[in-house]
Symmetry: C2
Subunit: 387 residues, 2 copies
């Protein structure tokens, strides 16, 4: 397989973008990415798009062709493929794009992710999101995503002594980071008190433990590493790209305080990269809920099982700490346009590895990791990148 | 790239399967495919699933993980990827699976397609299907799929003298073929009179010019050609796998009587296979509407532009004719569970190349082609296979 590098990145503003359609969002990410990579439409061989639920959010499927079309690439008739793995759709698009370049099928490939979640036609965004869980065995019985993650949190608290304050600390850190990110949805600091006194959504998760409903898009452009320098002085090499699955419904898992899909994907990724967890300088992980970040810390191997809460409390995961986690603000504060999140994670890591992350720069970052989860771990994607 | 072969196939009954959920349908296709290939779960490296709109039809996204789960493969944590390109989702899953094996990423891969279209939760199946078209520029103005294809038919009739009787002849042939297929939705012969006297849906397309709403699933199993004989005595080699895109909305095309995505995908496929159109012994093409088969005959190069209607009238496309088209009954009579169709086309061609198609066997078939279209040609996939 050929080595693959990211040669360009773009990201739209994240938030409630009432004046922007899905097309607008894609352009806000795709055009800067192409400019950043110094490529034009004629250079592009293929397009992979992560989108969770255009069908339910905006009554639009066939998202691959739509995006090729509005990017002006349909006239070149290039293959455009939409992939979906719920909230991991973006990471999945990145992996398919990496495979296309690594294998030699394509040279220059765009991996994009997008979700338009406001202006939902019929039903609620929460109901649309619930389609990532097992509709027949979970949702029909009343479970939504906060409820499912709340169960993992309750057992984690029971078994490991994790506290609501520790969960809240994840939100405090990520809002602090997000406040330094010009593209993030929220620019506000929160305190532990504010989080645990915010309205309860699903015990023990308060509204400030949950990621928001967000419109947004992100794009990265890939090329074979041996030609990457033709396009940019600062290519970022992809050392590993891994994917794993698990049962969709939580009740079928061996242990709901571990996302085995993350464990398996991480194991494969570290083997591909030939490095150990401690060599990672920063990571963007899937904090759809604060408990999600704690599970990720443990399942990715940054902390021992049960130690994730303490790590948050002790500040090991803040910028300047042992391993900065979610310098972008994460899903929590930067926002979580579900199909875009996996690509935005790559955007943030590339920015950090290039040393272009401004106030939130992780000093001396050389190797970064992204971790994107679909549902409550039915799918997980892990990518490792180095400058 | 490695040569790739199909070593096992399976297909559920197509039709209104009121007692079968999406999971049941997948099992009805996947289990026979694995038995046919003599593989067990432990042999499978990856899964690709084509599904157009689980979100709109059954309120379920995250279809990749769901299917890995109900197939018992989630416990093995293998990567499972859902791809979507509207009615071409099945063909797209096949191409992604071919790429995974050809590149050496995986050895044994399942490509499946499924759609559960009856029991729609809220809205109609026709509205869900319309999400394959350009929602903002076509559907909001009242266009549905029959209306869009009707426009291509009207211009084809005006420009080339194609008649309603010629369109009807496509339905007559495909119902005749479908009547010989035990898995097809309809087992009834129709006549030209019956078609043109059936209720008008969108002038000039009558209800018997349209494919139906169908539940169904299909699966094929791929392996590197050099190990295929370990699993089966009758592997079918994939000579070409091609994909192209076009503008989503019809009004942006240079010519609506030609689907350029088909033209480009076919050109790429024939180049890959190193053969000419006349060497194809049979083809399964995308007859979502009768005009669709006529466009396909021309755009794939079986007939000159404008001659597709005459070819149908003269019987060139029936079993025993110049090039048998849609021996399965096509989308028209076998049924069109949108995400499954592209895989069912491969199922039929493999059956024919093995000489196992029973009453509808095309004698001496050695090379077959499948042609799967998303929307009105926003995406097209062409595969060529040989025994």
């Amino acid at each position: 397989m050929r080595s693959v590098s990211i040669i360009g990145i773009g990201c739209s503003k994240f938030g409630e973008q009432w004046d922007d359609s899905l097309r607008d969002l894609v352009m806000d990410a795709g055009v800067p990415a192409m400019e950043d990579a110094n490529v034009s439409g004629e250079d592009i061989d293929a397009l992979y798009v992560g989108n969770m639920s255009g069908g339910r959010f905006i009554e639009q499927e066939h998202i691959g062709a739509l995006i090729a079309d509005c990017a002006g690439l349909a006239r070149l008739h290039i293959p455009s493929t939409r992939v979906e793995a719920a909230c991991a759709s973006g990471g999945l698009a990145l992996r398919q794009a990496v495979m296309a370049v690594a294998s030699g099928y394509s040279d220059i490939v765009i991996a994009a992710g997008v979700e338009k979640m406001t202006d939902v036609s019929g039903g609620s965004a929460a109901d649309a999101l619930a389609s990532a869980a097992d509709r027949e065995w979970e949702c029909f019985l009343g479970a939504t995503f906060p409820a499912l993650y709340a169960m993992t949190a309750r057992l984690h608290m029971h078994r490991y002594g994790t506290t609501q304050e520790q969960l809240a600390q994840v939100a405090v850190k990520n809002h602090h980071n997000g406040n330094m990110n010009p593209l993030s949805q929220y620019h506000m600091e929160v305190t532990v008190d504010k989080v645990i006194n915010s309205p309860m959504v699903a015990d023990p998760l308060h509204v400030l433990d949950c990621s928001p409903i967000t419109d947004g898009a992100a794009a990265v452009i890939l090329a074979p590493s041996d030609t990457a320098k033709r396009y940019t002085d600062t290519p970022v090499k992809i050392l590993a790209s891994a994917q794993a699955s698990d049962t969709l419904a939580l009740h079928d898992r061996r242990d709901i305080t571990t996302l085995d899909a993350t464990v398996y994907a991480a194991r494969s990724a570290f083997r591909q990269a030939g490095i150990e967890t401690k060599e990672i300088d920063l990571a963007e992980v899937h904090d759809a809920f604060t408990i999600g970040e704690i599970l990720a810390l443990e399942d990715l191997g940054f902390m021992e099982k049960g130690e994730g809460g303490k790590a948050a409390e002790e500040g090991l995961t803040q910028i300047g700490g042992q391993t900065p986690i979610n310098s972008s603000g994460g899903l929590k504060a930067c926002g979580h346009p579900v199909g875009a999140t996996g690509i935005k994670q790559a955007y943030e890591v590339v920015l950090q590895l290039r040393g272009e992350a401004g106030k939130r720069q992780v000093e001396g970052a050389e190797i970064g990791l992204t971790h994107n989860v679909g549902g409550v771990g039915g799918t997980a994607l892990v990518h490792i990148m180095s400058r």
